[in-house]
């Protein structure tokens, strides 16, 4: 926990090394302890602890889950609600509870199914403040696992975040590390505005990292991060693809190119200046995402950066994204669908060359 010494100086913060999913569980648990109006609802979230166990166990000191007690046991069936198989009821219900004084965390089991509740998210949650002239707000957090690479096939792999960024009224955030997962989730829960918080299911147990042991640790929504400094080229990405970018950067570095990597962390609003400044500095930019190419993240970033960094760009901005097809299952196809290290590497090489 963050502590202040008697004289007001901040002491060294303790932290825990935990997995990406554990950071999510711990943060919800801690917020439910602090604030009685926070509650969780979703399919299989209660007794079962969620299909990915995101609503199951808090971590112990060593960062491992404390299997003795589930969130359901701690907070009871009303605050850890096994919701019906009805996405409209889950989201619409969360919205109603939010208007009546609560801060619901609604889980959509896979982001692929979020389209079932699209009307409630975009045209109800996203418009509450607007249509009440700011009198009401809608403090809901929608958590949902997205992304491919785990053999999920067509409807267990999608990355539909662009829809919510193109909605007008929603904050969309996508952590790439355990630390960001904790800090951004807490910010979403505490925000008075509706937040779509997407979790890359491929990262759940694949990565661990230090997370401050502080019940007030937050990360500002809308602020990106330079996750690696460099001077020759800017790589922009998030989620599982960010980790691919990091390994490509190592390789490029070993070949003498200095790579800057930016993680926007929040997808709407976007930390435009951070990206533009970096591209101005390096003069070259590659944007990577696994979502569909058309009308998605990579196009949005490219459009903004070309405008803001136009006079400094030395080569065209390259975009690498998923093809505009449904998500295939067969492992070879899944590999063909997802951007690969090689593709990122080659695009960087092109950008570093004559474009």
């Amino acid at each position: 926990m963050m502590q202040f010494a008697r004289d007001g100086r901040r002491e060294k913060m303790s932290s825990k090394n935990i997995s990406y999913i554990q950071a999510i569980t711990d943060t919800m648990w801690s917020e439910m302890e602090i604030d009685e109006t926070v509650f969780v609802l979703g399919q299989d979230c209660g007794r079962y602890g969620g299909v990915f166990k995101a609503t199951a166990w808090r971590s112990e000191k060593d960062g491992k889950p404390d299997l003795s007690k589930k969130m359901y046991d701690e907070f009871g069936p009303l605050r850890v609600l096994d919701a019906p198989l009805a996405e409209n009821a889950i989201i619409g219900g969360a919205i109603g509870a939010a208007l009546s004084g609560y801060r619901p965390i609604a889980e959509i089991q896979f982001m692929d199914f979020i389209d079932c509740a699209m009307g409630h998210i975009v045209n109800q949650a996203g418009t509450i403040s607007f249509k009440t002239n700011g009198s009401w707000c809608c403090p809901i957090t929608i958590r949902t696992p997205y992304g491919g690479g785990i053999g999920g096939g067509m409807t267990h792999s999608q990355s539909n975040e662009a829809w919510f960024c193109h909605a007008g009224g929603l904050v969309v955030t996508a952590p790439s590390t355990p630390r960001d997962a904790a800090g951004l989730l807490r910010s979403c829960i505490r925000a008075d505005d509706p937040c779509v918080y997407i979790e890359h299911k491929g990262l759940y147990r694949a990565i661990t990292g230090d997370v401050p042991d502080d019940p007030n640790f937050t990360i500002e929504l809308g602020k990106g991060k330079v996750v690696r400094e460099g001077s020759d080229i800017t790589l922009i990405s998030y989620g599982a693809m960010l980790h691919k970018c990091l390994s490509v950067a190592e390789k490029l570095e070993s070949e003498g190119a200095s790579v800057e990597i930016i993680d926007p962390r929040t997808l709407w609003p976007m930390d435009e200046d951070l990206m533009i400044n970096s591209a101005c500095k390096t003069g070259r930019c590659v944007v990577v995402a696994e979502s569909h190419a058309a009308y998605g993240f990579t196009s949005e970033v490219a459009a903004r950066v070309q405008e803001g960094a136009f006079w400094n760009l030395l080569t065209p901005i390259r975009t690498i994204a998923g093809p505009d097809t449904p998500f295939p299952f067969e492992p070879g196809m899944e590999a063909a669908y997802l951007p690969s290290d090689d593709e990122i590497y080659n695009s960087c090489k092109r950008a570093l060359g004559d474009g």
Partner: protein, 379 residues
């Protein structure tokens, strides 16, 4: 049809006394009517824009439910709920500010004039999406259950194996829950949202009053083209909740039926589906000539106008008063005239870019929107 049964009770006014009848029921009934007809006129005179959805004909349904609302109860209206809102206490000024899209309107003129609410009275401004509000109401009702739970008034009935299924809770005697009121039309019941909401409320015994306004039409679509059964209230059984059908033109009957439903809900007995047989006199909106229905149908319903029925019942039961009726009308007309003068002379125009500053609660998000918008404007 349950209305038959109810009608056979001793008094058609269910023992409502004269003062209550006039103060609580007649006043909002007449106010809703006079205000509504006036707005139809104002719209036709081109004094405000957009379009207008009239609830004329449906006032008894709305008032009979709306008057049961208390502080903290949420009203999730559809597009024809003037009567319920008036019963809840909305002023003519607020309504007119709304339809005239002035800066003083509850939604700051952001919303369409006919999709409106009033946050001060816990009335949610609806989206245009038919039936979405029905789900929201179930969510608010879940919040009311949590309110009671946090106060220690809800006992969860774990079984001996430490298991409990949804809805298995009891409310402490004497404790009362807030209620959520959802209004929706016959057409809306064809939507999945209706189903997901009543199903959820049925599972968790949530305090929701489902007010189904069966006015025969959904725009030009006949109720038989949206609902394959005779009575909407018959659907309640599919959700394990009581369903009643009442004469939606008789405010006493609606009042009585909703009272029963509200008492049950507040004391932890769960939701009720109340179907009200009613009718809208005007077209779907002011731009609808409503040529899909016959004049006879309209005339037939007008004979059972909520105001006529009120007078008949009140007279039969000896609680009618010409004097009170006249006084009520005068009071309402004053309020309306004053409000129109105010809205036309004194209300103000909203700032054209204010909507950007209220899209989010957190100003930094709105600033992000503004920044791009101003770039577009080349400022």
């Amino acid at each position: 049809m349950n209305s038959k049964k109810i009608n056979q009770k001793q008094k058609k006014s269910f023992g409502v006394d004269q003062q209550t009848a006039f103060e609580v029921l007649y006043h909002p009934l007449l106010k809703a009517r006079l205000l509504d007809e006036r707005m139809v006129k104002l719209f036709n005179q081109g004094r405000f824009g957009g379009t207008y959805f009239s609830g004329c004909g449906q006032e008894a349904t709305n008032v009979g439910a709306g008057v049961h609302m208390v502080e903290g109860d949420i009203l999730a209206p559809s597009h024809r709920q003037l009567g319920a809102m008036v019963a809840r206490g909305i002023t003519a000024k607020r309504v007119l500010a709304q339809v005239y899209s002035t800066a003083e309107s509850p939604d700051g003129a952001q919303q369409h004039p006919c999709h409106f609410g009033d946050p001060e009275l816990d009335i949610v401004s609806p989206t245009g999406h038919v039936a979405i509000q029905v789900v929201l109401a179930a969510g608010s009702a879940y919040a009311y259950l949590l309110d009671a739970y946090r106060k220690g008034d809800v006992k969860i009935n774990w079984d001996k194996d430490g298991i409990v299924w949804a809805g298995n809770w009891t409310l402490k005697k004497g404790s009362k829950l807030n209620c959520a009121f959802a209004f929706f039309g016959d057409g809306a019941t064809a939507k999945g949202d209706f189903h997901e909401s009543v199903n959820f409320a049925g599972i968790h015994k949530l305090p929701v009053i489902y007010m189904a306004e069966n006015n025969i039409w959904a725009e030009s679509v006949h109720v038989t083209e949206n609902v394959p059964v005779e009575r909407l209230s018959d659907r309640a059984a599919a959700y394990g909740m009581p369903g009643v059908t009442v004469d939606g033109q008789n405010v006493f009957e609606v009042y009585h039926a909703v009272q029963e439903a509200v008492e049950r809900a507040r004391s932890g007995g769960g939701p009720t589906l109340v179907e009200c047989l009613t009718y809208r006199y005007h077209g779907h909106s002011m731009i609808d000539p409503a040529d899909y229905r016959t004049d006879e149908e309209v005339e037939k319903w007008k004979k059972r106008d909520p105001l006529i029925v009120f007078e008949q019942v009140a007279k039969e039961d000896g609680i009618w008063s010409d004097k009170l009726a006249k006084e009520t009308e005068d009071r309402i007309n004053n309020e309306i005239e004053e409000a129109i003068d105010w809205v036309e002379d004194e209300s103000t125009k909203p700032k054209p870019d204010q909507f950007i500053d209220v899209t989010f609660r957190d100003p930094k998000f709105n600033d992000a929107i503004r920044k791009r918008w101003e770039k577009r404007k080349n400022v």
